[in-house]
């Protein structure tokens, strides 16, 4: 994992794995203590402080399937055909992670839910044409999530998921 941690003043936080290109950990309370990354040579990893939220499945959000009932692929990151492009900060400083797969461009972010009782995950998918997304499915992070067809309108579609904890 190459974690990019995203903290919020509302006390709900998340870590994105820039190596495998999916969300890895969510938690609430205190953020992280980065001291261990520079205090000594040993450089032990920084751990989330506070209380962990639901365990997130280590899988990619988009996959090309024959039908919605197919098994979700296990491959992650570049092995799944994804390419990491970095992130952009929106006006309030929230990082929007950028990656690509199969001609689709993805913008993926987590921000605190309005009441502060969890996170709002937003994923925006764009393509050069609506046909690029043919055969592609989106799968959310929750236990009850089911694959949903990615159908672009004017080259774009958005999904939202409320991760309450």
């Amino acid at each position: 994992m190459q974690a990019v941690t995203v903290g919020s003043p509302k006390g709900v936080h998340a870590a994105f794995d820039a190596l495998e290109m999916h969300w890895a950990v969510v938690w609430k309370g205190r953020f992280i203590d980065a001291m261990t990354t520079w205090e000594e040579r040993a450089m032990t990893p920084a751990k989330p402080l506070g209380t962990l939220g639901p365990v997130l499945p280590p899988r990619m959000p988009l996959a090309r399937l024959k039908s919605a009932s197919d098994g979700w692929p296990e491959a992650v990151g570049e092995a799944a055909g994804y390419h990491y492009s970095g992130y952009r900060l929106d006006k309030d400083g929230t990082p929007i992670f950028l990656y690509e797969v199969g001609g689709l461009k993805v913008e993926d972010s987590m921000s605190s839910a309005p009441k502060g009782d969890g996170l709002l995950r937003k994923i925006k998918i764009t393509g050069a044409s609506d046909a690029v997304a043919e055969g592609w499915y989106y799968l959310g992070l929750g236990k009850a999530a089911q694959p949903e067809s990615v159908s672009l309108t004017k080259g774009m579609v958005e999904f939202e998921e409320y991760i309450k904890f």
Binding site: M1, Q2, A18, L19, W38, R41, M43, G86, R88, L98
Partner: protein, 321 residues
């Protein structure tokens, strides 16, 4: 990476290769360079790891704890922090060890990627952190420092990667099995293609180019290095540190796998026996000419310094002390 600058901007200390006995004196005081201590604003700690002069005269400074600061008026009274104007430009970086201004953006090498950083809305603070290239192995071992980038004459970025010290660390959640290209210099084309170039490095923390666009780096005394060298990096060269060799067997490697390295012979003998072995451009006598050479720059402009004429034809050498 033994020594970081503890505060302020790096002091430039001249190291006159042609006059090694005078080095100790040169570090103390030398008419060839000026030391300008900057008085920093309260709470700002500039553990400088990279400097980049912007076209408009501003100075960008990367710091190892993950930030880039911009000095708005570096030429102002250095004791007046307000006049100099310190602005936090970028943050949240993972140990940036180098800084380059290129094509309207700042480029730095984080532990795991080459990153292009821009302020796209003009508010003076970076809002775009694009990954230009990644893909070298990072296991979590403390010694996996990554340095650069610098640009060669063809417009490719060069990055140097420490050998891991000991085995890779398998952290919780670690699923990437390979940790390739540790102890290598790699290049990145303008379109982001990563290519391994030279092997056999240990802790190659001082990477820079001369005025002709040749890429060099310093390395650090330790296992496989009896003293500190300055290395002329180029495609296919192997400089002697053995930990990088397993990757020479990979199809992408431009370095021929030399097989088992001979033991108990001098480096010069090894350079004759080992296929592809490249000797350093310069050996620095240990302690007498520095203990941990870091960044450097080649210049021919300092007229008061004796120019070094070598086969690499670079000018006077400066060391960041």
């Amino acid at each position: 990476m033994r020594k970081y600058l503890s505060s302020g901007l790096p002091m430039l200390a001249a190291l006159l290769m042609a006059h090694l006995p005078s080095v100790a004196r040169a570090v103390g005081s030398n008419p060839a360079y000026t030391v300008t201590p900057y008085v920093l604003p309260d709470g700002v700690k500039l553990e400088a790891s990279g400097l980049a002069l912007l076209p408009d005269g501003r100075l960008a400074v990367s710091v190892r704890k993950g930030e880039i600061w911009i000095l708005e008026h570096p030429e102002a009274d250095p004791t007046d922090a307000k006049a100099v104007g310190y602005r936090l430009f970028a943050s949240g970086l993972h140990e940036p060890l180098g800084l380059l201004w290129h094509d309207g953006a700042l480029y730095t090498v984080q532990r795991s990627e080459l990153t292009k950083i821009r302020d796209t809305d003009g508010d003076g603070v970076a809002d775009e952190y694009l990954a230009v290239a990644k893909g070298w192995g990072v296991s979590g071992n403390y010694h996996e420092y990554a340095y650069g980038p610098v640009l060669d004459r063809d417009g490719n970025f060069w990055i140097t990667l420490n050998a891991s010290m000991g085995g890779p660390v398998k952290l919780a959640g670690h699923r990437m099995q390979e940790k390739h290209w540790r102890g290598w210099a790699v290049s990145v084309s303008p379109d982001g293609k990563l290519s391994p170039m030279s092997a056999g490095l240990r802790s190659p923390c001082g990477i820079a180019v001369n005025e002709e666009g040749d890429v060099f780096c310093t390395d650090q005394q330790g296992n496989w290095w009896s003293t500190n060298p300055l290395l002329h990096l180029r495609k296919g060269a192997f400089f002697g540190h053995a930990e990088s060799l397993p990757d020479a067997q990979l199809p992408e490697s431009p370095v021929a796998d030399p097989g088992k390295l001979p033991q108990g012979i001098t480096v010069v003998e090894a350079s004759r026996q080992v296929k592809g072995f490249a000797l350093p451009a310069v050996w620095f006598p240990y302690v007498k000419a520095g203990q941990s050479p870091t960044g450097w720059s080649a210049t021919s402009r300092a007229e008061s310094l004796v120019r070094l004429r070598s086969r690499c034809s670079w000018g006077s050498l400066f060391f960041l002390a």
